[in-house]
Symmetry: C2
Subunit: 326 residues, 2 copies
């Protein structure tokens, strides 16, 4: 039904190999012959079967990307940047969302490996990546982005300066006179959440009070309940540090206009249009994606050096909410 090279060959009255040459722009085909072949290709509506080509050549020109959720602006920004780099290199991107489930992460990685991707970029959901070992031994380069791999796997990583960023946020609030600074963030099982908690705690020093820490689901109810609890304390927080974009937004909603200083980790659209503007410690998701993808292609080009561990800086953007004085 679908025409093959053989069909094109007989239609053009040449050997199969000649068609292959034309299709692949290989030199050494007489222009007239090439033209005849191209005509036959157009007439039959021929399109090369990539699976057959991959099977024969052993390389797929495909990169796999595992993220947490495409619908999250951080990851969709990262995705887009990865896609652009992948395209620049003439490759195709295979991507999937783990939904923060380790099992799904692994399934995706294994599916991608079964499709013989040339390389992988992974934002891990799980903490055990020993399942990657045989693939790594086969020589497939893997870059971890946003979060590092579990113990025992030493590969390239591109991470944000989470500890430093959290410290910057807290010191900013301290500098504006606050001493009761709460932290709302994800479950510390998530690497970035734990790192940001660490930076927060370190910067606070003796001012740390575990009653001002809430790390659980970013559901409106949970955030609201925890905030209510904190504000009911004898010495309630006068400032908040939120651990990621989702928490910042949920917290803003839960605050319902209450006047508290706030600095959030992650920038988000419209942060400048709120009143007051929301001060944030901004990451650059597309930078992360680009750096990870470029590192991967460097490996693909044969760079066999030791694993690199890149840390991207963050930038504090003051817009008002973090500058409310005590």
């Amino acid at each position: 039904m679908r025409p093959t090279m053989k069909d094109v060959a007989s239609a053009a009255g040449v050997a199969l190999k000649t068609v292959s040459r034309v299709v692949n722009d290989e030199p050494g085909v007489h222009p007239a012959t090439a033209e005849r072949v191209r005509t036959a290709i157009d007439r039959l509506g021929y399109s090369r079967n990539e699976s057959a080509r991959v099977l024969r050549r052993g390389t797929t020109a495909t990169i796999g990307l595992v993220i947490e959720d495409v619908a999250d602006p951080f990851y969709s920004g990262l995705s887009r940047a990865v896609e652009d780099v992948v395209i620049e290199h003439g490759c195709l991107l295979l991507s999937g969302s783990s939904g923060e489930e380790p099992g799904r992460e692994r399934e995706l990685v294994e599916t991608f490996c079964a499709r013989r991707v040339d390389g992988l970029i992974v934002v891990p959901a799980g903490a055990d990546h020993t399942y990657l070992r045989s693939e790594l031994e086969t020589g497939t380069p893997v870059v971890f982005a946003d979060r590092p791999p579990g113990a025992g796997i030493d590969v390239d990583t591109v991470l944000t300066d989470n500890v430093g960023g959290a410290g910057q946020a807290v010191r900013h609030l301290l500098g504006h006179g606050h001493r009761r600074i709460a932290f709302l963030g994800d479950d510390p099982a998530i690497f970035t959440a734990a790192a940001r908690l660490h930076g927060y705690r370190e910067a606070l020093g003796g001012l740390f009070d575990e009653r001002l820490v809430s790390m659980r689901s970013p559901s409106p109810e949970a955030v609201r309940a925890d905030l209510t609890g904190m504000f009911a304390l004898d010495d309630p927080p006068t400032a908040l540090f939120t651990g990621n974009g989702r928490y910042t937004v949920t917290t803003l909603r839960a605050l319902a206009g209450r006047r508290v200083a706030l600095v959030g980790f992650d920038d988000f659209e419209l942060a400048d249009l709120l009143d007051p503007g929301v001060s944030v410690v901004a990451q650059d998701p597309s930078w992360m994606g680009r750096v990870a993808a470029e590192l991967l292609f460097r490996r693909l080009r044969g760079d066999g050096g030791p694993p690199e561990h890149i840390q991207l800086p963050v930038r504090l953007i003051a817009r008002g909410s973090g500058e409310l004085l005590l």
Copy 2:
């Protein structure tokens, strides 16, 4: 280097076909034999070569999705929904961003077809889809989402009620006393932009004034310039209707607090937190994704009925900005 079924077979002391049976969970293998095979698979770190399988079977269990830009929340929401449905059906998703370039759209579609996707979901950037004809004849189902295909191609579509939604927005503003209602939107070459302009114009009737229409790039500068021009008129607009989420946000920024009524097409995060809250005509991108994907899988299951044209309704959400009285 990478182990094949043949390697597993000799390691387990069975024939290649037996390994194939085990890998594919085919019945009729003695449990003990199967166990021996599985052990060999684990020991060698075998993973089936999907390209070889695809070549032989002729079906890829892969769906292709072409959108405009993953980094746009509308399309990333749609993507995620498509991905979920695709996963439910045990398939893999191949997706790419056209960046609103017809050439890129076509390249993506052709790349996906060369990879022999079982079906395609396309948010077109171009207006000519005759290049799809041979693929359609081959029997590959294609669903267009958000925008219809160009002339001469009759396939399934899943669109939003753009005309109706724009009308709803305009009538809402008319109902609050406004008579000078401006429209800011994308280039009318984009289907949705043209449809929304049409709905706007129809609802305005005799009140339509082309000086109150701005349809060009959503750059802050362009929007600001056009708004300045409109407000300098003798009878300036007292209300705005923005043609999509990007325009709404850009416009809000350009307004810099000026008191004008506004209804935007597309909902967006934080619309409720601004002051006043931003009234919108909301689409549901994940609903659109889900509907398109389910329709595609219905076709893949053999539903050969005539092309379906699904129109999804919109919902007006009043939050304050659209209810400012004249």
